[in-house]
Protein backbone atom coordinates (compact mmCIF):
# COMPACT_ATOMS: atom_id res chain seq x y z
CA UNK A 1 0.00 0.00 0.00
CA UNK A 2 2.64 2.57 1.06
CA UNK A 3 4.64 1.53 -2.01
CA UNK A 4 1.75 2.68 -4.20
CA UNK A 5 1.58 6.05 -2.44
CA UNK A 6 5.34 6.40 -2.75
CA UNK A 7 5.03 5.75 -6.48
CA UNK A 8 2.30 8.39 -6.86
CA UNK A 9 4.40 10.96 -4.97
CA UNK A 10 7.49 10.10 -7.05
CA UNK A 11 5.50 10.66 -10.25
CA UNK A 12 4.21 14.01 -8.98
CA UNK A 13 7.73 15.17 -8.09
CA UNK A 14 8.98 13.98 -11.48
CA UNK A 15 6.30 16.08 -13.22
CA UNK A 16 6.80 19.24 -11.06
CA UNK A 17 9.55 20.86 -13.16
CA UNK A 18 8.21 20.21 -16.69
CA UNK A 19 4.77 21.61 -15.81
CA UNK A 20 6.25 24.81 -14.30
CA UNK A 21 4.34 24.20 -11.11
CA UNK A 22 6.85 26.48 -9.30
CA UNK A 23 5.13 29.42 -11.00
CA UNK A 24 1.78 28.58 -9.42
CA UNK A 25 2.37 31.44 -6.97
CA UNK A 26 1.83 33.88 -9.88
CA UNK A 27 -1.87 33.27 -9.46
CA UNK A 28 -1.60 35.07 -6.13
CA UNK A 29 1.29 37.55 -6.65
CA UNK A 30 -0.21 38.83 -9.90
CA UNK A 31 -3.66 39.04 -8.35
CA UNK A 32 -4.45 42.22 -10.31
CA UNK A 33 -4.81 40.18 -13.54
CA UNK A 34 -7.26 37.88 -11.84
CA UNK A 35 -9.15 40.82 -10.37
CA UNK A 36 -9.57 42.46 -13.78
CA UNK A 37 -10.77 39.17 -15.13
CA UNK A 38 -13.20 38.66 -12.30
CA UNK A 39 -14.70 42.15 -12.27
CA UNK A 40 -15.35 42.00 -16.01
CA UNK A 41 -17.08 38.67 -15.55
CA UNK A 42 -19.38 40.30 -13.03
CA UNK A 43 -20.56 42.65 -15.78
CA UNK A 44 -21.47 40.39 -18.68
CA UNK A 45 -22.06 42.22 -21.92
CA UNK A 46 -25.13 40.80 -23.67
CA UNK A 47 -25.19 43.36 -26.51
CA UNK A 48 -24.51 40.70 -29.17
CA UNK A 49 -26.52 37.92 -27.54
CA UNK A 50 -28.50 37.20 -30.73
CA UNK A 51 -25.28 36.31 -32.56
CA UNK A 52 -24.09 34.18 -29.64
CA UNK A 53 -27.43 32.37 -29.38
CA UNK A 54 -27.32 31.62 -33.09
CA UNK A 55 -23.79 30.28 -32.77
CA UNK A 56 -24.79 28.22 -29.74
CA UNK A 57 -27.62 26.71 -31.78
CA UNK A 58 -25.10 25.87 -34.50
CA UNK A 59 -22.91 24.24 -31.84
CA UNK A 60 -25.79 22.02 -30.72
CA UNK A 61 -26.56 21.18 -34.35
CA UNK A 62 -22.93 20.16 -34.92
CA UNK A 63 -23.16 17.86 -31.88
CA UNK A 64 -26.46 16.44 -33.12
CA UNK A 65 -25.14 15.49 -36.56
CA UNK A 66 -21.81 14.32 -35.19
CA UNK A 67 -23.56 12.00 -32.76
CA UNK A 68 -26.04 10.74 -35.34
CA UNK A 69 -23.32 9.81 -37.84
CA UNK A 70 -21.26 8.19 -35.09
CA UNK A 71 -24.23 6.06 -33.96
CA UNK A 72 -25.16 4.90 -37.46
CA UNK A 73 -21.59 3.96 -38.37
CA UNK A 74 -20.70 2.84 -34.84
CA UNK A 75 -23.42 0.15 -34.65
CA UNK A 76 -21.90 -2.23 -37.21
CA UNK A 77 -18.45 -1.63 -35.71
CA UNK A 78 -19.91 -2.41 -32.27
CA UNK A 79 -21.27 -5.73 -33.54
CA UNK A 80 -17.94 -6.54 -35.22
CA UNK A 81 -16.05 -5.85 -31.98
CA UNK A 82 -18.30 -8.01 -29.77
CA UNK A 83 -16.55 -11.22 -28.81
CA UNK A 84 -19.82 -13.13 -28.31
CA UNK A 85 -21.02 -12.39 -31.86
CA UNK A 86 -17.95 -12.36 -34.10
CA UNK A 87 -14.84 -14.56 -34.28
CA UNK A 88 -11.62 -13.28 -32.75
CA UNK A 89 -9.96 -12.55 -36.11
CA UNK A 90 -12.68 -9.99 -36.78
CA UNK A 91 -12.98 -8.64 -33.25
CA UNK A 92 -9.32 -7.84 -32.61
CA UNK A 93 -8.53 -5.76 -35.73
CA UNK A 94 -11.82 -3.84 -35.46
CA UNK A 95 -11.17 -3.11 -31.78
CA UNK A 96 -7.67 -1.78 -32.51
CA UNK A 97 -9.06 0.45 -35.26
CA UNK A 98 -11.67 1.78 -32.83
CA UNK A 99 -8.97 2.34 -30.19
CA UNK A 100 -7.15 4.53 -32.68
CA UNK A 101 -10.20 6.65 -33.46
CA UNK A 102 -10.85 7.05 -29.72
CA UNK A 103 -7.26 7.87 -28.86
CA UNK A 104 -7.12 10.94 -31.12
CA UNK A 105 -8.86 13.99 -29.68
CA UNK A 106 -11.69 15.59 -31.67
CA UNK A 107 -9.71 18.86 -31.86
CA UNK A 108 -6.98 17.02 -33.77
CA UNK A 109 -9.55 15.54 -36.14
CA UNK A 110 -11.08 19.03 -36.50
CA UNK A 111 -7.72 20.44 -37.59
CA UNK A 112 -7.43 17.68 -40.18
CA UNK A 113 -10.95 18.14 -41.50
CA UNK A 114 -10.53 21.91 -41.72
CA UNK A 115 -7.73 21.16 -44.17
CA UNK A 116 -9.91 18.65 -46.01
CA UNK A 117 -13.27 20.43 -46.27
CA UNK A 118 -12.35 23.99 -45.31
CA UNK A 119 -13.31 26.17 -42.35
CA UNK A 120 -16.82 25.78 -41.01
CA UNK A 121 -19.23 23.56 -39.10
CA UNK A 122 -18.94 20.56 -41.48
CA UNK A 123 -15.35 20.03 -40.31
CA UNK A 124 -16.67 20.02 -36.74
CA UNK A 125 -19.40 17.49 -37.53
CA UNK A 126 -16.90 15.14 -39.19
CA UNK A 127 -14.39 15.52 -36.35
CA UNK A 128 -17.01 14.66 -33.71
CA UNK A 129 -18.32 11.77 -35.83
CA UNK A 130 -14.94 10.09 -36.33
CA UNK A 131 -13.86 10.44 -32.70
CA UNK A 132 -17.26 9.22 -31.46
CA UNK A 133 -17.43 6.18 -33.72
CA UNK A 134 -14.67 4.75 -31.55
CA UNK A 135 -16.44 5.62 -28.31
CA UNK A 136 -19.90 4.49 -29.45
CA UNK A 137 -18.59 1.18 -30.76
CA UNK A 138 -16.88 0.48 -27.43
CA UNK A 139 -19.91 1.42 -25.30
CA UNK A 140 -22.34 -0.41 -27.57
CA UNK A 141 -20.24 -3.56 -27.84
CA UNK A 142 -19.96 -3.73 -24.05
CA UNK A 143 -23.76 -3.79 -23.93
CA UNK A 144 -23.83 -6.51 -26.59
CA UNK A 145 -21.33 -8.64 -24.67
CA UNK A 146 -23.54 -8.49 -21.57
CA UNK A 147 -26.70 -9.86 -23.23
CA UNK A 148 -28.51 -13.05 -22.34
CA UNK A 149 -27.41 -15.58 -25.01
CA UNK A 150 -30.48 -17.78 -24.63
CA UNK A 151 -33.02 -15.79 -26.69
CA UNK A 152 -30.36 -15.61 -29.42
CA UNK A 153 -30.14 -19.42 -29.44
CA UNK A 154 -33.92 -19.49 -29.59
CA UNK A 155 -33.74 -17.45 -32.80
CA UNK A 156 -30.87 -19.59 -34.14
CA UNK A 157 -32.91 -22.75 -33.57
CA UNK A 158 -35.54 -21.49 -36.04
CA UNK A 159 -32.97 -21.64 -38.85
CA UNK A 160 -32.38 -17.89 -38.95
CA UNK A 161 -29.31 -16.29 -40.54
CA UNK A 162 -26.53 -14.71 -38.44
CA UNK A 163 -27.82 -11.29 -39.43
CA UNK A 164 -31.32 -12.21 -38.24
CA UNK A 165 -29.93 -13.52 -34.95
CA UNK A 166 -28.43 -10.08 -34.35
CA UNK A 167 -31.53 -8.19 -35.51
CA UNK A 168 -34.05 -10.14 -33.45
CA UNK A 169 -31.98 -11.67 -30.65
CA UNK A 170 -29.43 -8.98 -29.83
CA UNK A 171 -30.83 -5.56 -30.84
CA UNK A 172 -34.09 -5.79 -28.84
CA UNK A 173 -32.07 -6.64 -25.74
CA UNK A 174 -29.60 -3.76 -26.04
CA UNK A 175 -31.90 -1.08 -27.50
CA UNK A 176 -32.64 0.72 -24.19
CA UNK A 177 -29.00 0.84 -23.15
CA UNK A 178 -27.87 1.92 -26.61
CA UNK A 179 -30.35 4.81 -26.65
CA UNK A 180 -29.16 5.86 -23.23
CA UNK A 181 -25.49 5.80 -24.28
CA UNK A 182 -26.31 7.73 -27.47
CA UNK A 183 -28.01 10.49 -25.47
CA UNK A 184 -25.09 10.61 -23.05
CA UNK A 185 -22.67 11.00 -25.95
CA UNK A 186 -24.83 13.81 -27.34
CA UNK A 187 -24.53 15.66 -24.01
CA UNK A 188 -20.77 15.24 -24.06
CA UNK A 189 -20.55 16.27 -27.70
CA UNK A 190 -22.35 19.56 -27.07
CA UNK A 191 -19.59 20.37 -24.57
CA UNK A 192 -16.86 19.29 -26.99
CA UNK A 193 -18.43 21.24 -29.85
CA UNK A 194 -18.12 24.51 -27.90
CA UNK A 195 -14.34 24.43 -28.35
CA UNK A 196 -14.22 23.20 -31.97
CA UNK A 197 -14.63 26.82 -33.14
CA UNK A 198 -11.19 27.64 -31.77
CA UNK A 199 -9.65 25.75 -34.70
CA UNK A 200 -12.24 27.12 -37.12
CA UNK A 201 -14.56 24.15 -37.16
CA UNK A 202 -17.78 26.06 -36.50
CA UNK A 203 -19.91 26.85 -33.49
CA UNK A 204 -19.62 29.29 -30.62
CA UNK A 205 -15.95 28.49 -29.91
CA UNK A 206 -14.80 30.96 -32.52
CA UNK A 207 -16.45 33.94 -30.78
CA UNK A 208 -15.30 32.72 -27.40
CA UNK A 209 -11.71 32.54 -28.57
CA UNK A 210 -11.81 35.94 -30.29
CA UNK A 211 -13.31 37.78 -27.31
CA UNK A 212 -10.75 36.27 -24.93
CA UNK A 213 -7.81 37.08 -27.22
CA UNK A 214 -8.99 40.70 -27.55
CA UNK A 215 -9.44 41.13 -23.79
CA UNK A 216 -13.21 41.76 -24.11
CA UNK A 217 -14.12 40.07 -20.86
CA UNK A 218 -17.70 41.35 -20.83
CA UNK A 219 -18.76 39.54 -24.02
CA UNK A 220 -16.67 36.52 -22.95
CA UNK A 221 -18.71 36.32 -19.77
CA UNK A 222 -21.98 36.43 -21.70
CA UNK A 223 -20.80 33.64 -24.01
CA UNK A 224 -19.74 31.49 -21.07
CA UNK A 225 -23.12 32.04 -19.42
CA UNK A 226 -24.94 31.03 -22.62
CA UNK A 227 -22.82 27.87 -22.90
CA UNK A 228 -23.39 26.93 -19.27
CA UNK A 229 -27.14 27.46 -19.52
CA UNK A 230 -27.45 25.43 -22.73
CA UNK A 231 -25.33 22.56 -21.48
CA UNK A 232 -27.28 22.48 -18.22
CA UNK A 233 -30.63 22.38 -19.98
CA UNK A 234 -29.50 19.63 -22.36
CA UNK A 235 -28.03 17.60 -19.49
CA UNK A 236 -31.24 17.86 -17.46
CA UNK A 237 -33.54 16.98 -20.37
CA UNK A 238 -31.32 14.13 -21.51
CA UNK A 239 -30.97 12.73 -18.00
CA UNK A 240 -34.79 12.70 -17.75
CA UNK A 241 -35.09 10.88 -21.05
CA UNK A 242 -32.43 8.35 -20.10
CA UNK A 243 -34.13 7.58 -16.81
CA UNK A 244 -37.23 6.66 -18.79
CA UNK A 245 -35.24 4.34 -21.06
CA UNK A 246 -33.49 1.96 -18.72
Amino acid sequence: MWLMWLGVIALLVFSWGPTEMSKASLLITDWRNMAEFGSAFLQPDFRDWRIYAEQMLETVQIALWGTAIAVVIGIPFAIFSSANICPVWVVQPVRRLMDASRAINEIVFALLFVVAVGLGPLAGVLALAVHNIGIISKLFSEAVEAIDPRPVEGIRSTGATRMQEVLFGVIPQVAPLWSSYALYRFETNVRSATVLGIVGAGGIGQSLYETIRSFQYGPTASIVIIIVMTVMIIDIVSARLRKGLV
Binding site: P151, S157, G159, A160, F168, P172
Partner: protein, 294 residues
Protein backbone atom coordinates in the same frame (compact mmCIF):
# COMPACT_ATOMS: atom_id res chain seq x y z
CA UNK B 1 -43.75 -46.70 -43.07
CA UNK B 2 -40.93 -45.76 -40.85
CA UNK B 3 -38.29 -43.18 -41.56
CA UNK B 4 -35.36 -42.36 -39.33
CA UNK B 5 -35.78 -38.83 -38.00
CA UNK B 6 -32.72 -38.62 -35.78
CA UNK B 7 -29.67 -40.78 -35.92
CA UNK B 8 -26.98 -40.35 -33.28
CA UNK B 9 -23.91 -42.50 -33.63
CA UNK B 10 -20.84 -42.69 -31.42
CA UNK B 11 -21.21 -39.17 -30.06
CA UNK B 12 -18.62 -37.85 -27.60
CA UNK B 13 -18.41 -34.42 -26.06
CA UNK B 14 -16.18 -32.96 -23.37
CA UNK B 15 -15.98 -29.37 -22.17
CA UNK B 16 -12.74 -29.97 -20.27
CA UNK B 17 -10.25 -32.43 -21.77
CA UNK B 18 -10.42 -35.88 -20.24
CA UNK B 19 -13.83 -35.37 -18.65
CA UNK B 20 -16.41 -36.33 -21.25
CA UNK B 21 -20.04 -35.34 -20.61
CA UNK B 22 -21.28 -37.55 -23.44
CA UNK B 23 -19.70 -40.97 -23.84
CA UNK B 24 -20.32 -42.92 -27.02
CA UNK B 25 -24.02 -42.10 -27.29
CA UNK B 26 -25.91 -44.12 -29.90
CA UNK B 27 -29.61 -44.12 -30.69
CA UNK B 28 -32.13 -43.62 -33.46
CA UNK B 29 -35.55 -42.05 -33.36
CA UNK B 30 -38.20 -42.97 -35.95
CA UNK B 31 -40.43 -40.32 -37.47
CA UNK B 32 -43.54 -39.76 -35.34
CA UNK B 33 -42.12 -41.14 -32.09
CA UNK B 34 -42.42 -39.39 -28.75
CA UNK B 35 -39.32 -40.10 -26.72
CA UNK B 36 -38.42 -39.06 -23.20
CA UNK B 37 -34.84 -38.38 -22.25
CA UNK B 38 -34.38 -38.80 -18.52
CA UNK B 39 -31.50 -38.45 -16.15
CA UNK B 40 -30.39 -36.49 -13.10
CA UNK B 41 -28.89 -33.02 -13.52
CA UNK B 42 -25.42 -33.26 -15.03
CA UNK B 43 -26.18 -36.48 -16.86
CA UNK B 44 -25.68 -34.83 -20.26
CA UNK B 45 -29.31 -34.32 -21.33
CA UNK B 46 -28.98 -30.63 -22.19
CA UNK B 47 -25.67 -31.10 -23.97
CA UNK B 48 -27.14 -33.91 -26.05
CA UNK B 49 -30.14 -31.76 -26.99
CA UNK B 50 -27.98 -28.78 -27.90
CA UNK B 51 -25.83 -31.10 -30.01
CA UNK B 52 -28.95 -32.40 -31.80
CA UNK B 53 -29.92 -28.83 -32.67
CA UNK B 54 -26.43 -28.06 -33.95
CA UNK B 55 -25.93 -25.50 -31.16
CA UNK B 56 -23.07 -27.42 -29.54
CA UNK B 57 -20.14 -29.01 -31.31
CA UNK B 58 -19.40 -32.61 -30.51
CA UNK B 59 -15.74 -33.57 -30.20
CA UNK B 60 -13.63 -36.64 -29.75
CA UNK B 61 -11.79 -37.69 -26.62
CA UNK B 62 -8.10 -38.31 -27.21
CA UNK B 63 -7.82 -40.23 -30.46
CA UNK B 64 -11.45 -41.37 -30.38
CA UNK B 65 -13.60 -39.94 -33.17
CA UNK B 66 -16.42 -37.59 -32.12
CA UNK B 67 -19.19 -39.41 -33.93
CA UNK B 68 -21.97 -37.91 -35.98
CA UNK B 69 -25.56 -36.69 -35.82
CA UNK B 70 -27.91 -37.02 -38.76
CA UNK B 71 -31.39 -35.59 -39.18
CA UNK B 72 -33.64 -37.16 -41.82
CA UNK B 73 -30.56 -38.68 -43.39
CA UNK B 74 -28.77 -35.34 -43.75
CA UNK B 75 -25.65 -34.62 -41.73
CA UNK B 76 -26.10 -32.08 -38.91
CA UNK B 77 -22.57 -32.40 -37.55
CA UNK B 78 -19.70 -34.82 -37.60
CA UNK B 79 -16.27 -34.91 -35.97
CA UNK B 80 -16.55 -31.47 -34.39
CA UNK B 81 -17.83 -29.73 -37.48
CA UNK B 82 -21.28 -28.29 -37.86
CA UNK B 83 -22.40 -29.18 -41.36
CA UNK B 84 -23.09 -26.44 -43.88
CA UNK B 85 -26.61 -27.84 -44.13
CA UNK B 86 -27.18 -27.08 -40.44
CA UNK B 87 -29.05 -23.84 -41.02
CA UNK B 88 -31.56 -25.52 -43.30
CA UNK B 89 -31.83 -28.48 -40.92
CA UNK B 90 -32.38 -26.24 -37.91
CA UNK B 91 -35.52 -24.88 -39.52
CA UNK B 92 -36.87 -28.47 -39.49
CA UNK B 93 -36.10 -28.84 -35.79
CA UNK B 94 -38.03 -26.75 -33.29
CA UNK B 95 -36.29 -26.38 -29.95
CA UNK B 96 -38.00 -25.42 -26.72
CA UNK B 97 -35.60 -24.56 -23.92
CA UNK B 98 -36.15 -24.80 -20.19
CA UNK B 99 -36.73 -21.06 -19.99
CA UNK B 100 -35.77 -17.74 -21.58
CA UNK B 101 -36.73 -18.85 -25.07
CA UNK B 102 -38.41 -15.61 -25.99
CA UNK B 103 -36.91 -12.25 -26.82
CA UNK B 104 -38.03 -10.27 -23.77
CA UNK B 105 -38.89 -6.93 -25.35
CA UNK B 106 -40.82 -8.22 -28.36
CA UNK B 107 -44.52 -9.06 -28.25
CA UNK B 108 -45.52 -12.69 -27.92
CA UNK B 109 -47.07 -12.60 -31.40
CA UNK B 110 -43.83 -11.28 -32.88
CA UNK B 111 -41.81 -13.87 -31.00
CA UNK B 112 -44.00 -16.57 -32.53
CA UNK B 113 -43.67 -15.02 -36.02
CA UNK B 114 -39.90 -15.31 -35.69
CA UNK B 115 -40.44 -19.05 -36.20
CA UNK B 116 -40.89 -18.18 -39.87
CA UNK B 117 -37.36 -16.77 -40.22
CA UNK B 118 -35.95 -20.00 -41.63
CA UNK B 119 -38.63 -20.20 -44.33
CA UNK B 120 -39.45 -16.59 -45.25
CA UNK B 121 -37.42 -14.76 -47.90
CA UNK B 122 -34.25 -13.51 -46.26
CA UNK B 123 -34.78 -9.75 -46.81
CA UNK B 124 -38.36 -9.86 -45.56
CA UNK B 125 -37.39 -11.87 -42.50
CA UNK B 126 -34.53 -9.50 -41.75
CA UNK B 127 -36.82 -6.48 -41.90
CA UNK B 128 -39.27 -8.25 -39.62
CA UNK B 129 -42.14 -7.86 -42.06
CA UNK B 130 -44.73 -10.59 -41.67
CA UNK B 131 -47.85 -10.79 -43.86
CA UNK B 132 -51.38 -10.78 -42.46
CA UNK B 133 -51.69 -14.46 -43.31
CA UNK B 134 -48.52 -15.22 -41.39
CA UNK B 135 -49.74 -13.25 -38.40
CA UNK B 136 -53.04 -15.11 -38.60
CA UNK B 137 -51.12 -18.38 -38.58
CA UNK B 138 -49.26 -17.17 -35.50
CA UNK B 139 -52.55 -16.33 -33.78
CA UNK B 140 -53.89 -19.79 -34.60
CA UNK B 141 -50.75 -21.36 -33.19
CA UNK B 142 -51.15 -19.27 -30.04
CA UNK B 143 -54.78 -20.26 -29.68
CA UNK B 144 -53.82 -23.88 -30.17
CA UNK B 145 -51.51 -23.68 -27.16
CA UNK B 146 -54.16 -21.69 -25.33
CA UNK B 147 -52.56 -18.29 -24.88
CA UNK B 148 -54.11 -16.31 -27.75
CA UNK B 149 -55.31 -13.63 -25.33
CA UNK B 150 -51.70 -12.83 -24.39
CA UNK B 151 -50.54 -12.30 -27.97
CA UNK B 152 -49.77 -8.61 -27.55
CA UNK B 153 -47.99 -8.84 -24.22
CA UNK B 154 -44.23 -8.65 -24.17
CA UNK B 155 -42.40 -11.95 -23.87
CA UNK B 156 -41.19 -11.21 -20.35
CA UNK B 157 -44.70 -10.37 -19.12
CA UNK B 158 -45.80 -13.99 -19.53
CA UNK B 159 -45.62 -16.58 -16.77
CA UNK B 160 -43.14 -19.45 -17.10
CA UNK B 161 -45.77 -21.86 -18.43
CA UNK B 162 -47.08 -19.30 -20.91
CA UNK B 163 -43.54 -18.58 -22.17
CA UNK B 164 -43.06 -22.30 -22.68
CA UNK B 165 -46.30 -22.52 -24.66
CA UNK B 166 -45.35 -19.47 -26.75
CA UNK B 167 -42.06 -21.20 -27.57
CA UNK B 168 -44.01 -24.27 -28.66
CA UNK B 169 -46.24 -22.05 -30.81
CA UNK B 170 -43.07 -20.72 -32.45
CA UNK B 171 -42.04 -24.27 -33.39
CA UNK B 172 -45.56 -24.79 -34.82
CA UNK B 173 -45.10 -21.80 -37.11
CA UNK B 174 -41.70 -23.14 -38.01
CA UNK B 175 -43.60 -26.27 -39.18
CA UNK B 176 -40.77 -28.30 -37.77
CA UNK B 177 -40.77 -32.05 -38.30
CA UNK B 178 -38.97 -32.59 -35.03
CA UNK B 179 -39.69 -30.86 -31.75
CA UNK B 180 -36.97 -31.08 -29.13
CA UNK B 181 -37.73 -29.77 -25.66
CA UNK B 182 -35.03 -29.36 -23.03
CA UNK B 183 -36.61 -29.72 -19.59
CA UNK B 184 -39.65 -27.74 -20.70
CA UNK B 185 -41.44 -28.28 -17.41
CA UNK B 186 -38.61 -28.18 -14.88
CA UNK B 187 -39.48 -24.72 -13.58
CA UNK B 188 -43.27 -25.04 -13.80
CA UNK B 189 -45.96 -25.84 -11.26
CA UNK B 190 -47.69 -29.23 -11.74
CA UNK B 191 -50.78 -27.82 -13.50
CA UNK B 192 -48.72 -25.82 -16.02
CA UNK B 193 -46.37 -28.77 -16.46
CA UNK B 194 -49.27 -31.06 -17.38
CA UNK B 195 -50.61 -28.43 -19.75
CA UNK B 196 -47.28 -28.18 -21.57
CA UNK B 197 -46.88 -31.97 -21.77
CA UNK B 198 -50.47 -32.30 -23.08
CA UNK B 199 -49.72 -29.81 -25.85
CA UNK B 200 -46.51 -31.65 -26.80
CA UNK B 201 -48.26 -34.99 -27.01
CA UNK B 202 -51.17 -33.47 -28.95
CA UNK B 203 -48.74 -32.05 -31.53
CA UNK B 204 -47.04 -35.45 -31.69
CA UNK B 205 -50.29 -37.26 -32.41
CA UNK B 206 -52.20 -34.89 -34.67
CA UNK B 207 -49.31 -33.42 -36.67
CA UNK B 208 -47.08 -36.48 -36.66
CA UNK B 209 -44.22 -34.37 -35.31
CA UNK B 210 -41.37 -36.36 -33.79
CA UNK B 211 -40.94 -35.23 -30.19
CA UNK B 212 -37.87 -35.66 -28.00
CA UNK B 213 -38.35 -34.24 -24.52
CA UNK B 214 -35.86 -34.28 -21.69
CA UNK B 215 -37.37 -34.61 -18.26
CA UNK B 216 -36.10 -34.50 -14.76
CA UNK B 217 -38.95 -36.49 -13.29
CA UNK B 218 -39.81 -39.99 -14.46
CA UNK B 219 -43.56 -39.57 -13.81
CA UNK B 220 -44.03 -37.47 -16.90
CA UNK B 221 -42.02 -39.86 -19.04
CA UNK B 222 -44.28 -42.68 -17.89
CA UNK B 223 -47.40 -40.63 -18.50
CA UNK B 224 -46.65 -39.24 -21.92
CA UNK B 225 -43.85 -41.02 -23.76
CA UNK B 226 -44.02 -44.63 -24.96
CA UNK B 227 -40.23 -44.78 -25.15
CA UNK B 228 -37.58 -43.56 -22.72
CA UNK B 229 -33.87 -43.10 -23.11
CA UNK B 230 -32.11 -42.87 -19.76
CA UNK B 231 -28.75 -41.17 -19.39
CA UNK B 232 -26.34 -41.47 -16.51
CA UNK B 233 -22.98 -39.74 -16.43
CA UNK B 234 -23.14 -39.15 -20.18
CA UNK B 235 -23.92 -42.76 -21.09
CA UNK B 236 -27.16 -44.35 -22.19
CA UNK B 237 -28.08 -46.84 -19.49
CA UNK B 238 -31.54 -47.71 -20.77
CA UNK B 239 -33.39 -47.36 -24.07
CA UNK B 240 -36.77 -49.01 -24.35
CA UNK B 241 -40.42 -48.88 -23.43
CA UNK B 242 -41.21 -46.49 -20.59
CA UNK B 243 -43.48 -49.07 -18.99
CA UNK B 244 -40.41 -51.04 -17.89
CA UNK B 245 -39.28 -48.17 -15.70
CA UNK B 246 -40.45 -49.29 -12.29
CA UNK B 247 -38.98 -47.60 -9.24
CA UNK B 248 -37.01 -50.79 -8.51
CA UNK B 249 -35.58 -50.89 -12.01
CA UNK B 250 -34.58 -47.22 -11.76
CA UNK B 251 -32.96 -47.93 -8.42
CA UNK B 252 -30.92 -50.58 -10.20
CA UNK B 253 -29.93 -48.13 -12.93
CA UNK B 254 -29.19 -45.13 -10.82
CA UNK B 255 -28.60 -46.39 -7.29
CA UNK B 256 -28.87 -43.54 -4.78
CA UNK B 257 -29.46 -41.06 -7.59
CA UNK B 258 -32.80 -42.63 -8.51
CA UNK B 259 -34.48 -40.85 -5.62
CA UNK B 260 -33.94 -37.49 -7.30
CA UNK B 261 -35.84 -38.74 -10.35
CA UNK B 262 -39.14 -39.14 -8.56
CA UNK B 263 -41.43 -36.69 -6.89
CA UNK B 264 -41.67 -38.66 -3.63
CA UNK B 265 -45.40 -38.20 -3.13
CA UNK B 266 -46.15 -39.15 -6.69
CA UNK B 267 -44.40 -42.49 -6.87
CA UNK B 268 -47.67 -44.31 -6.33
CA UNK B 269 -49.49 -42.08 -8.80
CA UNK B 270 -46.93 -42.97 -11.44
CA UNK B 271 -47.98 -46.61 -11.27
CA UNK B 272 -51.56 -45.58 -11.88
CA UNK B 273 -50.56 -43.34 -14.74
CA UNK B 274 -48.66 -46.15 -16.41
CA UNK B 275 -51.65 -48.49 -16.28
CA UNK B 276 -53.86 -45.84 -17.86
CA UNK B 277 -52.14 -46.43 -21.25
CA UNK B 278 -51.63 -42.71 -21.74
CA UNK B 279 -50.42 -42.81 -25.32
CA UNK B 280 -53.92 -43.64 -26.48
CA UNK B 281 -55.78 -41.00 -24.54
CA UNK B 282 -58.94 -39.97 -26.39
CA UNK B 283 -59.68 -36.51 -27.68
CA UNK B 284 -62.68 -35.98 -25.34
CA UNK B 285 -60.48 -36.86 -22.40
CA UNK B 286 -57.96 -34.32 -23.58
CA UNK B 287 -60.67 -31.71 -23.98
CA UNK B 288 -61.84 -32.44 -20.48
CA UNK B 289 -58.30 -32.01 -19.20
CA UNK B 290 -57.91 -28.81 -21.18
CA UNK B 291 -61.20 -27.58 -19.72
CA UNK B 292 -60.07 -28.42 -16.22
CA UNK B 293 -56.77 -26.62 -16.75
CA UNK B 294 -58.53 -23.52 -18.09
Amino acid sequence: MSEIAISVSGVWKSFTPGRPVLKDVNFQVQRGEMVALIGASGSGKSTLIRALGGLERIDGVGDKPAGSIEVFGALMQREGRISSAAKALRSRIGIVFQQFNLVPRLSTLRNVCLGLLGAAPRWRGSLGIFTLDERKMAMHALSRVGIAEHALKRGNQLSGGQQQRAAIARTLLQRSDILIADEPIASLDPASARRVMDILSEINRSDGVTVVVSLHQVEYALGYCPRTIALRGGEIVYDGPSSALTPDFLADLYGEESETLFLPALTAAADVARKAAPANRTAPALDAMAGAAA
